[in-house]
């Protein structure tokens, strides 16, 4: 097994002198695969020391200690002393839609014109060759929710796996939800253009009413199977009313979140709140209404100068205490989402247990995105989406990913940054 490992490492170093275009998506792995001797973090809070995972044709078949391993014709990856986690999930992102963030418009496809765009689909613009994807994979992020922006209703997101040739190949769950952004209830600062409304609350409520009116018409339209004039926008909302899609509402302010709760009450949608930086103020209310939350960014400043200086770090633990289903995201524009696990790590210093923090970037995200039947934890029946780290994946000192598997395929951890590293170690004779 050791030998096998060494070959893999050697292979990676060989590949490194090539350009990133030579980093290939892994081929399907048929047959049995065992990952042995690892500390297995299931993703649901449980930990199995010195455990083994049995994988058959890409699916997890069994997890436990001392599983029997057949003598031949199986692949065994011994990860003795290492930590094994479910593949991390980046739940809300413009990955593959936005390459160079600022001032290179040609590489930006994340935000469409128009206000009510339920028929827009992010998946069709998802670029599997984005240079960012491999960097994320090397940190253990294996799945992502590709999300459109812009307008009030931005369109539908899809979940992708991060080792693919093209977007059809990448799609893990197509069109899992529709995204909506609520208007602000906060008075903008003086001197803003356009001039701030005299009553921001009233203006926001008018806007909400306009959206509700649109949804009511869609609902009526969908009562009839055929139409003389087909309305693609209304058609695109069918999944919401059928509860086959979730409504992801981007909202931070308390008043916005109250409106989100109201959408559940009127339309019966499955609502998830994204952002939710002020959710700690109404955690109980969210729990009572069974609203799940995706916190966008742990590493943020407090909203007000009077707030506890560590408020954004501890919001997750306050939600946990209230029993709200939540997951963590990394939407940091400059490090480009590679610090998802460290966002989770920070919440541990501010109240969560390590396993709770892990769950917030694995199983909880899977539940919220509607893919927990297939991934999010290392449990029998699920896809073998697995990450192996040298040590604690939440702490940067030891968060060094050594293996990653997507649907049982061991994927390359190579990326442009590693290649440039190798290139200059070579230049300076440092290796």
């Amino acid at each position: 097994m050791k030998k096998y490992l060494i070959t893999i490492i050697a292979l990676i170093f060989c590949a490194s002198i090539h350009a990133q275009d030579d980093v290939y998506p892994a081929k399907e792995y048929k047959g049995l695969l065992f990952i042995t001797h690892g500390t297995i973090h299931i993703g649901n809070g449980q930990v199995i020391e010195n455990g083994t995972i049995k994988i058959n044709n890409g699916k997890i078949e069994q997890v436990g200690q001392n599983l029997p391993i057949p003598a031949d014709n199986v692949r065994v990856v011994d990860v003795k002393g290492e930590q094994v986690y479910p593949g991390l999930i980046l739940p809300v992102t413009d990955l593959g839609l936005k390459e160079v963030a600022a001032f290179v418009r040609g590489t930006n496809d994340f935000q469409e014109l128009g206000d009510l765009n339920p028929s827009i689909r992010a998946i069709v613009a998802y670029n599997t060759d984005s240079k960012i994807i491999n960097v994320l994979k090397a940190n253990g992020i294996l799945l992502a929710g590709i999300t459109p922006q812009g307008g009030t209703i931005s369109g539908s997101s899809s979940v992708v796996q991060l080792d693919a040739w093209n977007w059809e190949d990448a799609a893990y769950k197509m069109d899992n939800g529709i995204h909506m952004t609520l208007p602000s209830f906060i008075r903008p600062p003086d001197g803003s253009a356009p001039a701030p409304p005299t009553d921001p609350t009233k203006d926001a409520l008018n806007k909400v009413e306009e959206v509700k009116f649109f949804l009511r018409q869609a609902k009526a339209y969908l009562q009839e199977p055929s139409h003389k004039k087909t309305n693609l926008k209304f058609e695109a909302l069918k999944g919401l009313f059928d509860k086959k899609q979730k409504l992801f509402i981007h909202a931070d302010q308390v008043k916005q979140m109250l409106i989100a709760i109201d959408f559940v009450k009127e339309f019966g949608f499955d609502v998830v709140i994204i952002g939710a930086s002020e959710s700690f103020l109404i955690a109980d209310l969210l729990k009572q209404n069974n609203i799940a939350v995706i916190l966008q960014e742990e590493h943020a400043l407090p909203a007000t100068e009077d707030d506890d200086v560590d408020q954004p770090y501890k919001t997750a633990s306050q939600l946990q205490q209230a029993g709200v289903l939540f997951s963590l995201n990394d939407s940091h524009e400059e490090s480009r989402y590679r610090n998802l696990m460290f966002n989770a790590g920070t919440t541990v210093a501010y109240g969560l247990t390590k396993e709770q923090a892990l769950q917030a970037i694995t199983l909880n995200s899977a539940k919220i995105l509607g893919i927990d039947d297939r991934t999010g934890s290392i449990e029998a029946g699920k896809d073998a989406n697995i990450v192996v780290s040298h040590g604690d994946i939440l702490d940067m000192r030891s968060s060094i990913v050594t293996h990653a598997f997507i649907q049982g395929r061991e994927v390359s951890l190579e990326n442009k940054q590693k290649q440039l590293y190798e290139r200059y170690l070579y230049k300076y004779g440092l290796k």
């Binding site: 390459e99 160079v100 963030a101 240079k131 943020a300 400043l301 100068e305 200086v309 480009r336």
Partner: protein, 1026 residues
């Protein structure tokens, strides 16, 4: 033209017109032809039996004031009254010199327009002034502006000020940084010629650009630099340099030098900035404040300046909705509560002040606010001084106004009582011997019980009328009825209905059923006519039965209201009293020394007098406070090489070379980021100018001494640095219409070559200059560059791609110096060997990339490669959020590139100390160094670590336990103030809508910041980064 005298309305109109013309003609000017019959009058008036407040210290009772031809003849007791004087009996009345407003724009108001921006993110830059003529290059430098030439009387405005008791104002054109001269004018309704009593009384300056359309300056630093340079330019111009030709602005600057110099600070920190400019340039400024000076009154005392203080106290905020109230900061609520204590704070500190109506949204608020100030501790004597004596003295017009001494202008008030009492009314305001009625009805009270008799066609009815004030009376018949009553000093009117009040419905009182009477008052007897409820004519009389007592003002002196404490900083996390250095002994901790001893287990650190005095085992010291460090870690304080916190502005991005601007000129020691970063273990931050231009501004190293003032924030005895920048930002990639040179990296290099060449030539010219002749224009921009070439100032340069890095190094080498630090330097790994050879330090982000084109090749292994190549590597934040997790950022070099934990910690402590030339004092735990220490609960490189205490110079500025206490205090104090504001709203006082207290987060313009809901990211004063 025929005049129909029977038309009574017209009649009145002509009467009024006649009065006006007589006023004008009686003071007609000699040179003006008369289109009328000359009506010369001597205007001799005597006011007798009054209480006369002659000046701040002299009061006469039962005294007489005599005026003649607009001037005071005499005031006091035993004064002979000229036979030809019109005598007014002022029994019970008070006479005061009228007030002087030192900060008015009366008659010279500025039209409001938007000022020019910097063009950083879009628009173009306007490089030149839009002012035509032989004037200053900068549109905001306009010392030639002469208020006396712009001044036009404005009776409506004059009247509103007279009603408050003002008689004289200093007015100036409130636009620009150098604003020219102010004129002293009275508020008389006379020709401009006559009201102007001093054409050039003052020279005005400000720290605000005004309506200049020119782009430069766009920041507070730029304003200060421009002011300083202009002072120097004027000095140089006094030698009449041929190359300048005629510069009317600089000439005016010189001409204005002997006048009282007034500068508008408009904020406590700006006040101090203004004062420092004055100190440097040898000018003793009178400072126009903002009203928040009470928050730093000690510093105001130290400025030794006199202040002009507005009374624009904030309104209570409508905090009814808790979701809106959440965004109103404690700072704002406290400001509301404490603003009225500002004048008293000046008095207590013994600082001379003038009060002004300036900045009030509605000047009518002046007297109520003045009374509020008095309720909050301002003495009436000080108020009088601030409105009369001090302004006259400071403006050097005491020969004309400021007391009722003989020979001065007859500018005085007749009041019903002590002038600042709530119940006192100003009856008349005399300006230059002209009478202006304010509340003439207050001459005599008509309060009392009257018998009213109404006689109609054969009927007669009698009532008793109880007159309570000039606007309120009750009619007593079989019942007591409310009457609509009015008395304006001459005419009395009343109307009432005799219909039974079955309903409380006022509409029942139709005009048909109303009895309406009007009449004149002649002593205690009134006569008049009217109509009864059926429309029949009636006549009526009223005669006084019993006079109402002239109620002496019995409003008791209120005890000052209970208010919260001033905190330093003025923020929930501020101190009531600043913390002091302590002797501290941290016992039994893991000590990361950063010295050759490395990481020491179970070790003690002893701190005394702000220094580390001992590191070792089993140290004991009875004088020291012991802190148990068991299971904990001690590291040197974190030093952030690249930060943009704690300032008022960060980018002067309008020109490509702005080496004259200085971050140190505009520190903001109250930025909450300081406290937040202390909580992350940061003790020193290098505050850099932004990256908007090739040669940016001078930087400032600070220690995060939370609570001190701006000067005390500075790291003492530190080699000065300057910020340079290269690449996308300086060529304005973000702008679609850049017109500022350079537009490419080719141009950037040439900007550098040109600037240093000019600096070289400048240095040579200075060397050749005959000492003391001042023939070479002092150039603040080039002076900074000369310092760089002489290794007295050091460069930290924002840089990304390899080409530009190498180009700058070669420019530096050509001019004989080295680049001290490359900051960001995300492609540093590509040219690490060349940087090493050049001898620069590097300071980088841990893992940022691909947020713009020039960081496409940025890699997280950058720090590791550069470290392996032997460079002095720092990890910096450039981000107010990330700065509180710099330990985590350093730890990433363990993950990316396998740097050891100890070396990783050095990247945020001793390495930046070296890069900043302060490693002899900070950056490691070594005997003799500053006690800048952090006590951590865990391995500081771990994501689970957080600081328990952050110590600077032996003073504990952050303590996790105190932080918990402060959180509770904030909740309590907010609760108290919310209740107080709700009470204010309930009492019917006007409240302002709940505006969020937006926080400004300054950034260099390079990338997004990660902040909460009510934070505004700003690059400079005009550009918001969204």
């Amino acid at each position: 033209m025929r005049i129909f005298w029977l038309n009574s309305r017209k009649n009145l109109f002509f009467l009024a017109a006649g009065l006006v013309s007589s006023v004008m003609s009686s003071k007609a000017q000699e040179t003006f032809p008369i289109n009328d019959i000359a009506d010369p009058r001597e205007k001799i008036f005597a006011f007798t039996h009054a209480t006369i407040i002659k000046d701040g210290s002299t009061t006469f009772t039962d005294a007489t004031l005599v005026i003649r031809e607009g001037k005071i003849v005499s005031a006091g007791n035993n004064i002979s009254i000229p036979a030809n004087a019109v005598v007014t009996d002022c029994t019970g009345k008070f006479i005061y010199p009228s007030f002087i407003d030192t900060y008015s724009d009366y008659g010279v108001a500025v039209r409001s327009e938007r000022s020019g921006g910097s063009g950083f993110y879009g628009g173009s830059t306007q490089f030149n002034s839009a002012t035509k003529g032989a004037y200053d290059w900068n549109e905001a430098i306009r010392p030639e502006t002469d208020a006396s030439k712009l001044f036009v009387t404005d009776e409506a405005k004059a009247k509103s000020l007279r009603e408050l008791g003002f008689g004289t104002v200093l007015t100036h054109y409130k636009n620009g940084i150098a604003r020219g001269t102010g004129a002293v004018v009275t508020l008389a309704n006379l020709n401009e010629h006559l009201v102007m009593i001093k054409e050039k009384a003052s020279a005005h300056y400000s720290l605000a650009k005004g309506i200049s359309s020119q782009s430069y300056p766009s920041s507070m630093m730029g304003v200060i630099a421009l002011l300083r340079q202009s002072f120097l330019d004027a000095k140089w111009y006094s030698t009449r340099p041929a190359e300048e030709g005629v510069n009317l602005s600089l000439q005016a600057w010189l001409d204005n030098k002997s006048l009282p110099q007034i500068i508008e600070g408009n904020d406590k920190w700006n006040d101090l900035r203004a004062d420092r400019i004055g100190d440097e340039m040898g000018v003793h400024f009178i400072i126009k404040g903002d009203g928040n000076e009470y928050q730093r009154i000690k510093e105001m005392v130290a400025s030794n300046a006199a202040f002009i203080v507005p009374l624009n106290f904030p309104q209570a905020i409508d905090v009814e909705d808790p979701n809106d109230a959440r965004f109103v900061s404690l700072r704002e609520m406290k400001s509301w509560e404490l603003a009225p204590t500002n004048p008293a704070a000046f008095e207590k500190a013994n600082i001379p002040i003038c009060l002004t109506t300036s900045d009030l949204k509605d000047v009518k608020q002046f007297l109520p606010n003045l009374r509020k100030a008095i309720d909050n501790g301002l003495s009436e004597a000080k108020a009088f001084d601030a409105l009369v004596t001090t302004p006259a003295r400071l403006l050097k017009i005491s020969d004309q106004v400021g007391s009722l001494d003989a020979g001065k202008l007859a500018n005085f008030l007749i009041t019903t009582g002590p002038v600042f009492n709530e119940k006192t009314a100003i009856i008349e305001n005399w300006v230059q011997g002209e009478k202006y009625d304010v509340k003439p009805e207050e001459w005599k009270t008509i309060k009392g019980i009257y018998n009213v008799e109404i006689n109609g066609a054969g009927t007669s009815s009698k009532y008793i009328l109880d007159v309570q004030s000039n606007n309120a009376a009750k009619l007593i018949a079989s019942d007591t009825m409310d009457v609509k009553f009015s008395y304006d000093g001459k005419l009395v009117g009343l109307s009432y209905s005799l219909m039974a009040k079955t309903k409380k419905d006022s509409s029942a009182q139709t005009s048909r059923s109303l009895i309406r009477l009007s009449g004149t008052v002649n002593g205690s007897v009134w006569n008049g006519n009217g109509e009864d409820s059926s429309g029949n004519r009636v006549t009526w009389t009223a005669s006084l039965v019993k006079a109402g007592s002239i109620s002496a003002d019995n409003t008791k002196k209120k005890t000052p209201p209970v208010v919260g404490k001033v905190l330093y900083p003025f923020d929930g996390y501020g101190w009531e009293e600043l913390p002091k250095p302590e002797n501290l002994l941290i016992k039994n901790a893991t000590v990361w020394t950063n010295e050759k001893e490395g990481k020491l287990e179970n070790t003690d650190v002893l701190v005394k007098n702000g220094k580390i005095v001992q590191v070792g085992k089993n140290i004991s010291d009875a004088s020291a406070k012991t802190i148990d460090g068991t299971g904990k870690h001690v590291t040197p304080g974190i030093i952030d090489e690249h930060s943009h916190i704690a300032t008022t502005s960060i980018n002067e991005g309008t020109q490509s070379v702005t080496s004259d601007v200085r971050i140190g000129d505009n520190l903001n020691p109250e930025d909450i980021s300081i406290y937040r970063q202390l909580s992350g273990g940061v003790t020193s931050s290098h505050i850099l100018h932004g990256s908007a231009n090739t040669i940016g501004g001078q930087t400032q190293l600070i220690k995060l001494r939370w609570g001190v003032n701006d000067e005390e924030l500075k790291f003492k005895n530190w080699d000065p640095f300057i910020k340079f920048a290269l690449g996308e930002n300086v060529k304005r990639t973000s702008s679609s219409s850049n017109n500022r040179f350079p537009d490419t990296r080719m141009g950037v290099e040439e900007v550098l070559m040109d600037a240093f060449q000019r600096a070289k030539d400048y240095e040579n010219a200075l060397k050749a200059e005959k000492p003391g002749t001042n023939t070479v224009r002092r150039n603040l921009k080039l002076e900074a560059l000369v310092e760089i070439m002489n290794k007295k100032r050091f460069i930290t340069c924002h840089s990304y791609v390899q080409s530009e890095i190498v180009a700058l190094m070669r420019v530096a080498e050509k001019f004989g110096f080295r680049v001290n630090t490359f900051t960001h330097i995300l492609e540093g790994y590509k040219v690490a060997d060349k940087i090493k050879e050049h001898g620069a330090s590097v300071s980088t982000f841990s893992d940022w990339w691909i947020y713009k084109m020039e960081v496409l090749d940025a890699i997280a292994y950058n720090a590791a490669i550069m470290q392996k190549m032997g460079l002095n590597v720092c990890i910096n934040s450039d981000d107010a959020e990330m700065a509180r997790r710099l330990n985590q950022e350093a730890a990433k070099s363990v993950k990316y590139g396998g740097i050891s934990e100890e070396d990783a910690l050095k990247m945020i402590t001793i390495n930046p100390a070296k890069a900043l030339h302060v490693d002899d004092r900070v950056g490691s735990i070594k005997v003799g160094k500053d006690a800048d220490l952090v006590l951590w609960n865990d391995n500081p490189l771990s994501i689970y670590a957080k600081p328990l205490k952050t110590i600077i110079d032996g003073t504990i500025y952050y303590d996790i336990d105190r932080d918990l206490m402060l959180r509770k205090n904030i909740i309590e104090e907010r609760k108290r103030l919310v209740q107080k504001m709700l009470g204010e709203k309930k009492s019917g006082s006007p409240v302002s809508p709940p505006k969020p207290s937006y926080q400004i987060l300054l950034g260099c313009g390079d990338h997004l910041e990660h902040n909460g809901l009510i934070t505004i990211n700003k690059i400079d004063d005009n550009t918001t980064n969204q």
